[in-house]
């Protein structure tokens, strides 16, 4: 087999993002781009967010930073100074993509907006990520994971009915935003390859998270239905309004099983009853049920509840592992409710070679990361380098624009880098 290529190896990215869009540059880095993460002198504030290696709060031990800034080099630069801005303009001459998350208007005021930078480099692709976009009534409003989960509509369907709506505890909106920013950026970069034309990509965080709602906007759009939060239940699968349990307690945790229709759902239902029966736990009405006639889109709540009662009793007798093995062997739909531990131990992911042990020499340890998001036959998508230390590549990167060690020292003393 031919060796896979680093698709974006000749693509230079300057990454001025904060924690809301780290994933964007990482995705370009996964595909081989030379992504240079730019921090303030002393390091990004985001290095203080989230948890730390061995619980030691230290900017070089931040796990969120490690998670989404690998495959990047790192430099420090203070664009609040005129010298810093000059250096940025110099870097932009040989940059293909700029990523940034400043408040709308900030870069323009500093003379570093898209219009100014594209004069230096007309082929530049510049991606600006903000909570609500570059223009419009909410453009100056601030976001957080909680706020964006709320404003996107995702939160309205999360949580128990008798409790306040919730977010996912592990912040998710920044992943959606970063991924969608990478999508828009790569599309603009592809267009540039075809036509020579650069452009500005304006990413709205709110809109980025709305895509997490999958097809549900159509419930309101077509029928003015407003789905509400139903905890462990799936809504919108039956025109009767029936809801379906999707989380069951089992012996050592939880499993996800859902009564479904369609060929796979019917097969699953039938085999579950057989499994129950093998342990003497299948009620007669389930044993006699004609699953071929079962119509998920028209089933009433009463019938669903009866089936789910039997499932509830049955699943408390099995472990997550037994459940997982059984669904795999019998081609049934369903999975255990996994934690990070089980993901790291999963046989499939191991067999696919997903994990990479990466040396963190400063910590004296190796940390395990997923190496890729996608397997290509010709493009390498991989883990190339751990996240940078503060200013780790100043010499390398500034050397490329002709600055020597004494220049770098002088700039450091002047708080420019």
């Amino acid at each position: 087999m031919e060796e896979k290529v680093k698709l974006l190896k000749d693509c230079r990215v300057l990454d001025f993002t904060n924690e809301t869009a780290f994933l964007c540059g990482k995705i370009l880095g996964d595909l081989g781009a030379d992504v240079v993460k730019v921090e303030k002198p002393g390091g990004d504030e985001s290095r203080n967010l989230g948890s730390f290696f061995q619980d030691i709060p230290h900017p070089e031990k931040n796990l969120y930073w490690f998670s989404y800034n690998h495959n990047k080099r790192g430099i420090t630069l203070n664009i609040e100074t005129e010298t810093g801005r000059e250096i940025l303009r110099k870097l932009v001459e040989n940059t293909d993509i700029v990523l940034e998350t400043f408040a709308p208007g900030y870069l323009e005021k500093s003379g570093l907006g898209y219009a100014a930078l594209s004069e230096i480099n007309p082929k530049l692709v510049m991606t600006s990520v903000t909570p609500f976009g570059q223009s419009g009534p909410y453009k100056d409003y601030k976001g957080s994971d909680l706020v964006l989960t709320a404003m996107s509509g995702l939160m309205s369907s999360l949580g128990d009915r008798d409790k306040p709506p919730i977010r996912t505890t592990l912040p998710q909106s920044y992943m959606w935003i970063g991924m969608h920013a990478a999508m828009g950026t790569l599309m603009a970069y592809y267009h540039r390859g075809r036509t020579g034309e650069g452009q500005h990509v304006d990413v709205s965080g709110q809109a980025g998270v709305i895509w997490a709602l999958n097809h549900s906007p159509s419930f309101y759009d077509l029928n003015k239905e407003v789905p509400r939060r139903e905890g462990s239940y799936i809504t919108g699968r039956s025109i009767t309004g029936a809801i379906f349990r999707a989380v069951y307690p089992c012996q050592d945790g939880y499993v996800t099983f859902v009564i479904y229709g369609g060929p796979a759902g019917k097969r699953t239902n039938r085999r579950l009853v057989e499994w129950m029966d093998s342990k003497g736990m299948a009620p007669d009405d389930l044993k006699n049920k004609d699953w071929d006639k079962f119509d998920i889109a028209a089933v009433a709540q009463e019938e669903v509840d009866r089936i789910e009662d039997a499932c509830m009793k049955f699943f408390t007798t099995v472990t997550k592992k037994e459940f997982f093995e059984h669904v795999l062997e019998n081609d049934m739909l369903g999975y255990p409710v996994a934690t990070a531990k089980e993901i790291l131990e999963d046989e499939q992911l191991k067999a696919r070679g997903l994990w990479r042990e990466v040396e963190h020499e400063g910590l004296g340890t190796k940390i395990t990361y997923p190496a890729f998001s996608t397997v290509f036959s010709s493009i390498a998508c991989d883990f190339w380098r751990r996240a940078p230390l503060i200013g780790e590549h100043n010499r390398e990167v500034y050397g490329e624009i002709g600055l020597n060690d004494s220049d770098i020292l002088r700039l450091k003393r002047a708080n420019v880098i």
């Binding site: 309205s156 920013a181 809109a207 999958n214 759009d221 799936i234 790291l344 996608t374």
Partner: protein
């Protein structure tokens, strides 16, 4: 020679042997940006979103009345091909010969069994980009295991970290599907760029599971380095207080408020007309607020209960506090910011009537998206695609 495309995927032809969300939504993004996308299904086996997946317009079932199909397939052409019949396979291969990209989301091995595997595709079209997306990937011991997004969201770890610590986890629905859609568009675009540079097509194997894992990396590192499983904690945050949703005036109306530092806390107290809370020793510092979080929640909740969610949102945002409305779907369709961005495009569908397509989450300044056709009826474009598109495609090649 440089091309002059006005949309990113102008001139790119996509054949979609895919159903429900994880494949077709990729084609939708591409169609919104100018690709010519043909969605393939059959009368014997229509797209699952048409067949057994509400909502249906006015709750009346019909193959051309499904909202979930409509939202994933605007701006596409639709043909019916029976892949179980020899003539069907021949026709599919003609379409593959015409296409630049094939998107498929069958269970691994199925397209090969049907006679349209990657080798057969390459035979009729050596430059083809085949994009395969499935639950667990094309290889490995669980490759053939089928699943829907709702199940996979649990395997990926999202379910476990959503909910309250003393209750069952909450389900996110088919959450992972659209993570795989985002990574899918990225992968296809990368493959097109590779082909633009080298002339070479390729096969992409996207496991939806693995794309979901990308959104879980901090939890994996937390376990890997600190041996700690991230638990669900409602809306609680390690150091932001208040960080919760609060009831507002109206029926099940809520706002979200997140305060990360003393400055924001001060602004919040001022907005609430409760300046005395700023110097209250229970709330003076982040650790103090964290310790008295229930008291903070009570004070904030007492204030928000007197206002609408919109009033809380505006008042706090105008004063620099990160706040939001827990928007329902109804709110999203009336959201002034989304209106400003043209996020919902009105379309008139022959059976559904007026409906809306969802725009991309980004705006490209020089090559904007364009949504101008509703999702197709089943088999609507058989004649157009098989007679006009394929004939024109053949002529182009000759």
């Amino acid at each position: 020679m440089m091309e002059t495309a006005r949309q990113v995927f102008e001139g790119i032809k996509v054949a979609e042997f895919a159903a429900v969300a994880a494949g077709p939504a990729i084609g939708k993004h591409m169609a919104d940006h100018g690709a010519c996308v043909v969605h393939v299904e059959s009368h014997e086996r229509p797209d699952g979103f048409r067949l057994n997946y509400p909502p249906y317009k006015d709750n009346k079932y019909g193959l051309n009345r499904a909202g979930s199909f409509a939202i994933c397939n605007n701006n596409k052409y639709d043909v019916t091909i029976d892949l179980k019949a020899k003539e069907g396979v021949d026709r599919a291969l003609e379409l593959i010969e015409w296409a630049d990209v094939v998107i498929e989301n069958f269970t691994p091995g199925t397209i090969k069994k049907l006679g349209i595997g990657y080798e057969e595709m390459k035979r009729v079209n050596p430059r083809i980009i085949l994009f395969s997306t499935c639950n667990q990937g094309q290889t490995g011991p669980h490759a053939n295991h089928p699943g829907f997004g709702s199940h996979l969201s649990s395997l990926c770890g999202f379910t476990y970290v959503t909910g309250y610590p003393d209750r069952l986890p909450c389900i996110l629905g088919p959450y992972v599907d659209f993570i795989a859609v985002g990574y899918g568009v990225i992968a296809v675009t990368a493959a097109l760029e590779h082909r633009r540079r080298t002339g070479e097509g390729q096969w992409i194997d996207l496991a939806q599971y693995e794309t979901g894992v990308q959104f879980m990396i901090p939890a994996l590192l937390e376990y890997g380095t600190n041996h700690r499983v991230v638990e669900r904690e409602g809306n609680r945050h390690p150091f932001a207080v208040p960080h919760n949703t609060y009831r507002c005036k109206g029926d099940d109306r809520w706002c979200a408020i997140s305060v990360f530092n003393d400055e924001e806390w001060k602004a919040l107290c001022e907005c609430m007309g409760r300046e005395e809370l700023i110097s209250d020793p229970r709330f003076k510092t982040i650790p103090a607020r964290k310790k008295h979080e229930d008291d903070v929640d009570r004070e904030v909740g007492n204030w928000t209960a007197q206002l609408t969610a919109e009033e809380v949102f505006k008042k706090l945002q105008e004063n620099g506090v990160k706040a939001g409305i827990v928007q329902t779907l109804a709110d999203l369709f009336a959201d002034p910011q989304l209106k400003h961005r043209g996020f919902w495009t009105p379309l008139d569908h022959p059976e559904i009537g007026r409906c809306h397509a969802e725009g991309p989450p980004f705006a490209l300044s020089k090559t904007p998206f364009k949504i101008d056709r509703p999702a197709p009826m089943i088999g609507e474009h058989n004649e157009l695609v098989f007679k006009t598109f394929l004939t024109a495609g053949k002529k182009e090649k000759d």
